[in-house]
């Protein structure tokens, strides 16, 4: 199943990517990269972690002040790292990044084989003349390599790793969630998802695709009544996740002797008190709104980030939980309260799994150009605003808004390409409906 030359290629890629990261971490650019607002936010900056660890080692509760927003588990682990093996911390970040890439590689491999087997099962339902659309065995080899490369050589991810942001660990947990989800291991998947949710609240939405996968894995292996089996499996998944999360919260409270960390972590994510600019959309709105409407807008923005797209997307993509999970991850990276480029790079790495959809994408060029231009303009406008004082916040927010719009276009394009492909598979490449060739477009 796995071809040896591909594996060797991937190991070579790991080596090259590791060397690049190692060189950057030990160069003069490390501090510059780590200080950029696009890379490190208040939630994932390593500087805040060191401050919190120092306070903790002095016996002061780091959650009492307004500065530290890591989870207590992270606090303990990082404290041990900083105090005992400080010279190995860069290596640890690089190793975690490489492990994440490998996990994504394995996930992509499993997903491609699952795609292929599902296609085999549904082959009879497809219309005539759609053989060109179908996946072939040779198509299954390259996408996982592309996924690993997209993760290893994505500048966003490289900078995120070199800047030593804790997004590296968050991405690691997310990648493991994807892998365990697709492998169908309930307890492990729920535990890792609980760990990811503990760190930043938003991965809780991935519970839905995870429960779909786990239910499907269970019901495919048995021949009983599928409906009730799936319902019970879902409930079991939810219960496992909640209990894992509660257990982690309890352990965290025991480690810090109290529940103040909730206010510093979840309260911080939900209330958005820190309005330092980042690549997100929250800070600009909240700097200019009246106090009276703050609660309304916080609720609106958080519902937008979590709840609003979850249910409709689930309805549309219940057949394709992996695409659902990737879309949710993408929407999370755009709409969360403190996004960073590490989150963006993660879901970009997942995209090559749907290489067969790239033919149906209609806005690829626009999206690609937008990404390039906004990524280049962001630091320029930042410099103009903060250092040259000839621009203002509107410029930077405009660039960030264009970046977010490009990402949203990307997500909607992929989804539309998926729907297009499904439509074409079921109704033929040129569907003659009322005598005209129809094509689905987004309106």
């Amino acid at each position: 199943m796995k071809s040896q030359p591909m594996d060797n290629l991937v190991y070579l890629e790991y080596a090259v990517a590791g060397i690049i990261r190692y060189w950057l971490i030990n160069s003069d650019y490390k501090q510059t990269i780590g200080d950029r607002v696009e890379i490190s936010t208040s939630l994932n900056s390593w500087r805040k972690v060191t401050e919190g660890a120092y306070l903790y080692s002095e016996g002061i509760n780091p959650y009492v002040g307004d500065n530290f927003h890591e989870t207590p588990l992270g606090l303990i682990v990082f404290n041990k790292l900083i105090s005992h093996i400080p010279q190995w911390i860069g290596i640890i970040f690089i190793v975690c990044d490489l492990v994440t890439a490998h996990v994504l590689y394995r996930t992509a491999q499993t997903f491609m084989s699952e795609l292929f087997s599902r296609q085999m099962r549904k082959k009879e339902k497809y219309a005539k003349g759609t053989e060109t659309l179908l996946l072939k065995q040779s198509d299954l080899v390259l996408p996982p390599v592309y996924v690993a490369s997209a993760y290893l050589f994505n500048p966003y991810i490289i900078f995120s790793c070199v800047g030593q942001t804790t997004t590296v660990f968050a991405n690691l947990c997310l990648a493991f969630t994807f892998l365990l989800m697709i492998k169908g291991q309930r307890i492990a998947c729920c535990s890792v998802l609980a760990l990811a949710t503990l760190q930043s609240l938003y991965p809780a939405t991935l519970l839905v695709p995870a429960s779909i996968y786990l239910a499907r894995a269970e019901s495919s292996s048995s021949l009983e009544d599928k409906q009730s089996l799936r319902a019970s499996s879902c409930i079991l998944t939810v219960v496992t996740f909640i209990s894992a999360l509660l257990l982690l919260l309890y352990i965290s409270s025991e480690l810090t002797g109290g529940w103040e960390f909730l206010h510093a972590t979840y309260g911080f994510i939900l209330n958005v008190p820190d309005l330092r600019p980042n690549v997100g959309l929250f800070w600009y709105f909240f700097t200019e709104m009246f106090e009276n409407f703050r609660l309304l807008f916080i609720c609106v923005f958080q519902i937008n980030a979590t709840l609003l797209y979850l249910v409709p997307l689930t309805f549309r993509l219940h057949d394709e939980p992996m695409l659902l999970a990737a879309s949710l991850t993408a929407l999370m990276a755009v709409f969360k309260s403190y996004p960073s480029l590490g989150d963006v790079g993660f879901y970009l790495a997942l995209l090559p799994m749907w290489k067969h959809l790239f033919n149906f994408m209609q806005q690829g060029f626009v999206v690609g150009c937008s990404f390039l231009i906004t990524s280049a303009m962001g630091p320029i406008v930042w410099h103009l605003w903060i250092y040259s004082r000839s621009a203002n916040a509107n410029f930077y927010f405009g660039v960030t808004l264009a970046f977010a719009t490009a990402q949203i276009f990307l997500v909607t394009d992929i989804l539309l390409a998926y729907i297009n492909r499904e439509f074409s598979l079921y109704h033929g490449l040129h569907h003659k409906g009322s005598g005209k060739t129809t094509k689905l477009v987004l309106e």
């Binding site: 499907r216 009276n292 609720c299 309805f315």
Partner: protein
């Protein structure tokens, strides 16, 4: 509901399409549910203006609140029949009073109370003096003509002594214009409620506006300090002379006394040089009465008296330099002010005393400059005390024939004067609180955008309660408690009216709010509203289909 039969073999494409349709509609319904069912109540709840409910009806009822001052006046005569007649007569005269509800009592008088009395001053210490503020005793003193030519003598505490020939009319005159001052009270209230129609009377125009605390600033102006050096312990003088009066007035308000010295400041007017016609060739300078107002404004610029929020009384002592001394004030008729006191008062502002350095020191050329001079503390402070009395609202009394007052010796205020002052201030504060509350309730009722937080709400409630309580206390004649309640009402009403938190959302009218919402939310709602149509069509299609199946 999330999971469905994925691919059960044997299902047709048509069913798949229908299920896909169903899922599409469910997705649209989910959007609509989140936006409308969760969003709209959320928006409504989080953006309503916080307003505490206010007692609007009670505030409106304050208009018709009748404020009458109840008072007990006891009359003691030797002959009980005469006392009864006096009571009946006085009751008759005062039954038309709109503001006062006077209860006249005839107290029997024991001869022995008057036996050991040698003068009216002794009676002041007798036990029959009323102690409660607001009460009065009219005491017949037979043989009053031994002590004074007047028929009626107003005492230092709350007693009026009258002789045996005094009629009820004379007594009522004394009560009306000296002790009760009903006309002045009514005019004060009328001037506050309808300022365009009525004006304050003379003593009301002079009286400082009501406040909880006053600043008193005493300034000594010495235009040429290099030539004349003043040897004066001003703080000690204040302590000796002003403190007793301020102590007595402390029930009314708190006082913060400050003093300062100003050098190189002149009066900026040119007094005329006048040679005395008596032949001694003695020259002095004359300040005409009509240029006195021009002195105040340039001086006031240098006084720095507006550093606090309390009303300030300014008392200024001007010591003319030796070349410009002595300086006297001339009245309009061309005569000098009686009594040799060169001082004048500005209503609601303060007073200025011109204290000339003694000619011995000025004309003594053997003394080198700067010449030392100690001002006459008693004279200056005496004038300040008189001016302070007038400014605080103790009026000059109209002359009534054969009516006099016992002279003040140590006590700075007669107690009936203090009672009258309490009455005026109580009514002023009540009226002011009432007007403030009414205008505030009208404002808050009309503009729905004003935030009313808990502090403002409780202030308003406290003010209304205090006003009603004060009116009750006034009616039963408990003057000092009524004054305290009215002060509390006045301060609470002012605090509620000037609270800055009221303005939090004032300049954010409703249409601006919608102008903020619509560009943000309308583009989101349009697809949802449009999809409602297709949802509706699909739902009805399903129901029709099901009923069709049933019929078949």
């Amino acid at each position: 509901m999330i999971l469905k039969e994925e691919t059960s073999d044997g299902s047709t494409k048509g069913e798949d399409a229908e299920d896909n349709d169903a899922y599409r509609i469910f997705a649209a319904i989910a959007y609509a549910v989140v936006l409308i069912v969760i969003g709209l109540p959320l928006w409504w709840k989080t953006t309503d203006v916080y307003r505490v409910s206010l007692p609007y009806s009670r505030i409106a009822a304050l208009d018709s609140l009748d404020v009458t001052l109840g008072m007990n006046i006891s009359i003691s005569t030797i002959d009980p029949a005469r006392g009864g007649r006096l009571v009946a007569d006085l009751k008759d005269i005062f039954k038309t009073s709109k503001l006062f509800q006077l209860t006249f009592l005839a107290l029997p008088l024991e001869k022995k109370d008057l036996a050991s009395v040698h003068s009216p001053e002794d009676l002041e210490n007798a036990s029959l003096q009323p102690r409660k503020p607001g009460e009065l005793l009219l005491l017949e003193v037979p043989g009053l003509s031994r002590f004074t030519a007047n028929h009626v003598l107003a005492g230092l505490k709350r007693t009026v002594y009258f002789s045996s020939e005094t009629t009820a009319v004379k007594l009522s005159e004394v009560l009306e214009s000296w002790l009760l001052q009903e006309k002045s009270l009514r005019q004060t209230v009328a001037a506050m409620t309808a300022p365009t129609e009525t004006d304050q009377d003379r003593s009301g125009r002079r009286r400082m506006p009501t406040a909880a605390e006053y600043d008193i600033m005493i300034t000594v102006v010495n235009p040429e300090p290099e030539k004349l050096h003043l040897n004066w312990d001003l703080p000690q003088a204040v302590q000796d002379y002003l403190e007793p009066l301020l102590q007595e007035l402390s029930l009314l308000a708190a006082y913060a006394v400050k003093s300062q010295w100003l050098y190189f400041v002149t009066l900026n007017v040119q007094p005329k040089l006048v040679t005395e016609t008596s032949g001694s060739g003695y020259q002095h300078y004359a300040l005409a009465e009509d240029i006195l107002p021009q002195i105040i404004t340039p001086l006031e610029k240098k006084l720095a008296s507006h550093v606090s929020r309390n009303p300030c009384l300014n008392f200024i002592v001007y010591i003319p330099p030796c070349e410009a001394a002595p300086l006297h004030i001339y009245r309009r008729q061309g005569m000098r002010v009686k009594g040799g006191v060169d001082a004048f008062l500005s209503p609601r502002w303060g007073g200025i005393v011109i204290h000339n350095p003694s000619s011995l020191i000025c004309h003594n050329t053997s003394v080198p400059e700067p010449k030392e001079y100690s001002p006459d503390t008693a004279a200056i402070m005496g004038i300040f005390l008189a001016q302070l009395r007038l400014l605080m609202g103790i009026p000059e009394l109209k002359e009534i024939s054969r009516v006099g007052q016992l002279p003040l010796s140590t006590v700075s205020l007669r107690q009936w004067e203090f009672d009258a002052l309490l009455r005026v201030r109580t009514l002023e504060q009540l009226t002011s609180a009432k007007l403030t509350l009414q205008s505030l309730s009208q404002l808050l009722g009309e503009i729905s955008n004003i935030v009313i937080n808990d502090a403002v709400g409780s202030s308003i409630y406290r003010a209304v309660n205090c006003v009603e309580h004060a009116a009750d206390l006034l009616k039963t004649g408990q003057l000092d408690q009524a004054f305290n309640e009215s002060k509390e009402a006045f301060l609470s009403a002012e605090a509620a009216f000037t609270d800055p938190s009221l303005l939090a959302l004032l300049y954010f009218p409703d249409d601006q709010k919608y102008a903020v919402y619509i560009p943000l939310f309308l583009p989101v709602m349009i697809p949802v509203i449009l999809s409602l149509k297709s949802i509706h069509a699909w739902l009805f299609g399903r129901m029709n289909f099901k009923t069709k199946l049933k019929e078949d």
